[in-house]
C-alpha cells in the first residue's frame, strides 16, 4: 500500500484495485485501540472547547417525509443561533435536507455562514438507475445546495462490482464540480471492517471530498470503529496522493459524551488539522440539544430542562 504514489489527478483504476485488495484489518486490535481511546478523560476547559467544536461541526439534519417549509425555517433559525442566550456558542456548519427543500433552506440561511447540504442520488437506498441519480443531484445543485451527500451503490458493492461503485461516484462528482461531495458508505450495510476500508478508498479515489458513515436510516448507524477504519483510509490516501479528505459521522450519535470520543479519536489519530468543520462533521438531529445542555452545565453547574433551549 505504501508503495503506491500517484498524483490525485492521475489515479488509475489499477491503483484503486491495488489499494482495495491490500485492505488488511485485524478487528481485535482495532477494537482494542478504539476502546482505549474512549478512556480519555476530557474535563474542564478542554471539554468546553470540545463542545463548542462539536456545535461548529454539526450538520443539523432533518430527512423525513413530513418535512415542510415551516419545519425547515425553524431548523435553519436554530442552526444560525443554536443558543440565542449565549452568543459564545457558534453556528452549526450546515443544515442537511432533501433536495425539494434546498430552495427554502438556502433562502433562510441568507448571509450567515451556515451551508446548505442536500442528500441526493436517491438517498437512502440509491436503488434507481444512474440517470435518476444524476437528475436528483443536478436538481439539488440548481436549487443552490453548497454540499451534496450521496450514497454509494451497495448493490454493486456487495455483488463485487467495485468498478461500478467507482464510476458512479466519478459521474456524480462531475455533476458537482466545486460543490462539496460527501459520499455515504452506509457502514451498517457493509458490516465488515475490510468492506468499510474498501468502500472508503474507492470513494476517495473517485473524487469524494468527504466520506460519511451512514444515512441514519438504518438501526446500525455510525460507530467509532467504523470511523477509525475510515480515518485510517483517509490518512493512507493522503500519504499516497497528498489530498486531505474529510470525514462525516452520522447516525445514532445522540450525546455529547459519545461525540467527544469521536473528537479524541480524530485528534490523536489524525491531528489538529482535522479538528475543523472543513474536514470533520457530525450529522445529527438530537445531538445538538445535548451539547447545548452540557455547555450550560459547564458554565453554570446546573442542568437545565429542554424547554430552555429553542426548538429546531
Amino acid at each position: 500500500m505504501g508503495k503506491i504514489k500517484t498524483s490525485y489527478d492521475s489515479i488509475q483504476w489499477s491503483n484503486v484495485l491495488e489499494m482495495v485488495y491490500e485492505s488488511r484489518i485485524d478487528s481485535v486490535g482495532l477494537n482494542e485501540r478504539v476502546n482505549s481511546l474512549a478512556t480519555r478523560s476530557i474535563k474542564k476547559d478542554s471539554k468546553l472547547e470540545a463542545l463548542n467544536m462539536i456545535v461548529s461541526m454539526c450538520d443539523l439534519t432533518t430527512l423525513e417525509g413530513e418535512d415542510t417549509e415551516g419545519k425547515i425555517s425553524q431548523m435553519v433559525a436554530k442552526a444560525i443561533k443554536p443558543n440565542p442566550l449565549d452568543s459564545s456558542v457558534p453556528s452549526v456548519a450546515a443544515v442537511c435536507v432533501y433536495p425539494s427543500l434546498v430552495g427554502t433552506a438556502k433562502e433562510k440561511v441568507q448571509n450567515s455562514n451556515v451551508k446548505v447540504a442536500a442528500v441526493s442520488s436517491y438517498f437512502p437506498s440509491g436503488q434507481v438507475p444512474m440517470e435518476s441519480k444524476l437528475l436528483d443531484t443536478k436538481y439539488a445543485i440548481e436549487s443552490g445546495a453548497d454540499e451534496i451527500d450521496i450514497v454509494i451503490n451497495r448493490k454493486a458493492f456487495l455483488e463485487g462490482d467495485y468498478r461500478k461503485v467507482y464510476d458512479e461516484i466519478v459521474a456524480l462528482k462531475e455533476v458537482c464540480q466545486d460543490v462539496h461531495l460527501k459520499t455515504i458508505l452506509e457502514v451498517g450495510d457493509l458490516k465488515t471492517y475490510e468492506n468499510i476500508r474498501k468502500a472508503s478508498l474507492i470513494s476517495l479515489a473517485a473524487g469524494s471530498d468527504f466520506i460519511k458513515t451512514s444515512t441514519g436510516k438504518l438501526s446500525i448507524g455510525s460507530s467509532r470503529q467504523a470511523c477509525y477504519v475510515m480515518l485510517k483510509s483517509v490518512l493512507d490516501f493522503e500519504s499516497m496522493t497528498g489530498v486531505k479528505a474529510g470525514i462525516k459521522v452520522a447516525g445514532g450519535i445522540r450525546d455529547a459524551k459519545d461525540a467527544i470520543r469521536y473528537l479524541v479519536m480524530i485528534n490523536e489519530e489524525m491531528g489538529s488539522d482535522w479538528l475543523n468543520p472543513e474536514l470533520f462533521r457530525f450529522g445529527a438531529s438530537s445531538l445538538l440539544d445535548d451539547v447545548l445542555k452540557q455547555i450550560k452545565k459547564l458554565k453554570t453547574g446546573a442542568y437545565q430542562a429542554g424547554y430552555y433551549f429553542p426548538r429546531g
Binding site: 488488511r24 481485535v28 486490535g29 485501540r33 478523560s41 474542564k44 478542554s46 485510517k232 500519504s239 475543523n276
Partner: protein, 479 residues
C-alpha cells in the same frame, strides 16, 4: 486550526493514606525491624519522600522464616477447601480496595494510573480468584498424593509490577499449601505492605504470609537461610545467576523468571495499522519496564519505511507525564539508577551508529523521565539490539524471509516472549513453532491471563507461573 489540549484529569491521591513509617509483617503482626534501620521510598515522578520502610537484617529474616515455619504447621493442615476460602476472601478484598491500591502503585512506582487501574489491579484480583479455585481441586489434576508443598517459600519480586508479581507469587504458593516470606523490591515496597493489611482483614492465620522489606542484602539473607525450602525469584538475569550459585548443592527448589529481549516480528502481510498499535503496546507499556517487552522490532524489508513512518507518527501521540493524570500513557522511570542505565545504553546505541528518533513531548521538571525512543538502522551486533534496556526504547532490525526472521529472533541469550504479525494463519504457526520463547503472541502483544503459563527459555529463566503449570512450581514429589 485548533490545537486542542486536554486539561489535567487527576485521580485523587486522598483515597490512600501513606504512613510516615512502615514495619515488617511477620507472624500476623506489624513489627518494628530488629535492625532498627530504615530505607526511604520516593515517588519517581516527583522525587518526593513517600515513606520509610525497614531495612531488614538477619534477625528479621530469622523471625520471618520461623514464623512461616509455624504458619506452615497450621496452613498445611487446613482442608483444601478452607485454604480456598481464604484466597477467595483476599481476592474480593483486593477488588474492594482496588482504587486505593492503584493510586499507591502509581505513586510509589511511577506507572500511569490508567495501567494500574485497568491492568495491574484487575490482574491481581484475577490471579487470586484463579488460584483460589485451584486450591481444592489439586487432586483432580494430578495424583497429588505423591505431590507435596515445599514448606517455606522465599519470594523475591521486582519493581515493575509490584503488586501483580506479589499475586503471581503468593496466590499459587498458598493454594498449594506453602507459606511465604516475601520481599518486595527496594523502590516499590508500599503496595506489598498494604497487602499485609488485606491478609489481616481476611483473618489469614499468623505466619502464612510474611512480608519483609529491604535491599539486595535482605534478599540474599532469604536465599541463604537454612530453613527455606524453595526460592521463587523474578528480576534480572544477573541476580538470578547469583541466586542459582548460592543454592547449588542445597536441597532448595528454585524457579527464576529473568530478563528478555523479545522479537516482535512484523511480516509484510500483516494488518499494518494494528501491528503498529501492537508494537507500541509491546514496548511502551509500563515505560518498557516489562521483562517480556517487545524490545526488538523485526520488520520485513519491504514494509520498513512505511511502517517506521506510521510508528513515529503514533509515538508522537503518546502522552508522557504525571502518573496520576488519567490521560497519561507513559509515566515515570522507576528510579534514578534505571534512568541512568537506559540513558547509557541509548548513548551507546547512538555511538554504534543507530539512528535515533525521540518524541517531542515536554517532560516534567522533577522526577525521572525518558522520551519514547525508536532506533532504526541498527545491526544485530549493537548492544541496543542485544542487551535488555528495560525502558521505553525500541530497536528496529530488518529481515528478508521468514527463515531469516526466526534466525534473528532466536539470536539472543534470552527466550521469554515473542510476537508474530501476519494475516496468514499458517505463517503464524510456522513461525511460532520455531521461536525459542516461553510465550508467543500472534497479532497481539502483552496479553496475560492467570490460566496461561508464563516463563522463559535459555537465560530468561525456568519454571512456569500461571495456569496448571504454575501450580507445579510449588509442589514437589514426595516419597
Amino acid at each position: 486550526m485548533i490545537d486542542w489540549q486536554y486539561s489535567e484529569s487527576i485521580e485523587s491521591p486522598d483515597i490512600v493514606s501513606i504512613k510516615k513509617k512502615y514495619t515488617n509483617y511477620i507472624g500476623g503482626k506489624f513489627v518494628e525491624p530488629k535492625s532498627k534501620k530504615y530505607i526511604n521510598t520516593i515517588s519517581p515522578s516527583t522525587e518526593e519522600l513517600l515513606s520509610k520502610v525497614p531495612l531488614s537484617n538477619e534477625k528479621d529474616i530469622n523471625n520471618a522464616v520461623n514464623s512461616a515455619k509455624e504458619g506452615f504447621e497450621v496452613w498445611s493442615k487446613l482442608t483444601p477447601n478452607q485454604r480456598s476460602r481464604y484466597l477467595f476472601k483476599i481476592a474480593r478484598l483486593i477488588q474492594e480496595r482496588s482504587r486505593e491500591f492503584a493510586v499507591l502503585e502509581s505513586l510509589d512506582g511511577g506507572k500511569p494510573i490508567k495501567e494500574s487501574r485497568d491492568f495491574d489491579l484487575p490482574q491481581v484480583a484475577a490471579n487470586f480468584f484463579y488460584f483460589a479455585g485451584w486450591a481444592d481441586k489439586l487432586d483432580l489434576s494430578w495424583a497429588t498424593k505423591s505431590l507435596k508443598p515445599y514448606g517455606v517459600v522465599g519470594q523475591i519480586i521486582p519493581w515493575n509490577f509490584p503488586l501483580l508479581m506479589l499475586a503471581w507469587k503468593i496466590a499459587p504458593a498458598l493454594a498449594t499449601g506453602n507459606t511465604v516470606v516475601l520481599k518486595p523490591a527496594e523502590t516499590t515496597p508500599l503496595t506489598a505492605l498494604l497487602f499485609a493489611e488485606i491478609c489481616e482483614q481476611a483473618g489469614l492465620p499468623p505466619g502464612v504470609v510474611n512480608i519483609v522489606t529491604g535491599d539486595g542484602s535482605t534478599g540474599s539473607l532469604i536465599v541463604n537461610h537454612k530453613d527455606i525450602n524453595k526460592i521463587a525469584f523474578t528480576g534480572s538475569t544477573q541476580v538470578g545467576k547469583l541466586i542459582q550459585k548460592s543454592l547449588a548443592g542445597r536441597d532448595v527448589g528454585l524457579t527464576l523468571e529473568l530478563g528478555g529481549k523479545a522479537a516482535n516480528i512484523v511480516y509484510e502481510d500483516a494488518a499494518i495499522d494494528q501491528a503498529v498499535e501492537g508494537v507500541v503496546n509491546g514496548i511502551f507499556f509500563n515505560q518498557g519496564h516489562v521483562c517480556c517487552a517487545g524490545s526488538r522490532l523485526l520488520l520485513q524489508e519491504s514494509i520498513h519505511d512505511e511502517f517506521v513512518k506510521k510508528l513515529e507518527k503514533r509515538m508522537q501521540s503518546l502522552r508522557v507525564g504525571n502518573p496520576l493524570d488519567k490521560n497519561t500513557d507513559i509515566g515515570a522511570i522507576n528510579s534514578k539508577e534505571q534512568l541512568d542505565k537506559i540513558t547509557g545504553l541509548v548513548n551507546e546505541g547512538v555511538e554504534d551508529g543507530g539512528e535515533l528518533f525521540q518524541t517531542e513531548c515536554e517532560l516534567p521538571g522533577n522526577g525521572f523521565w525518558f522520551r519514547p525512543t525508536l532506533f532504526t538502522n541498527v545491526q544485530p551486533s549493537y548492544s541496543i539490539a542485544r542487551e535488555e534496556i528495560f525502558g521505553p526504547v525500541l530497536t528496529t532490525l530488518t529481515f528478508r524471509t521468514p527463515e531469516e526472521a526466526v534466525e534473528i529472533a532466536n539470536n539472543t541469550e534470552y527466550g521469554l516472549s515473542a510476537g508474530v504479525w501476519t494475516e496468514k494463519g499458517s505463517k503464524i504457526l510456522w513461525t511460532a513453532d520455531r521461536l525459542d520463547a516461553g510465550v508467543v503472541w500472534a497479532n497481539t502483544f502483552n496479553k496475560f491471563d492467570p490460566s496461561s503459563p508464563f516463563g522463559g527459555y535459555k537465560e530468561s529463566g525456568f519454571g512456569r507461573e500461571g495456569g496448571r503449570h504454575g501450580l507445579l512450581s510449588y509442589l514437589k514429589a514426595s516419597s
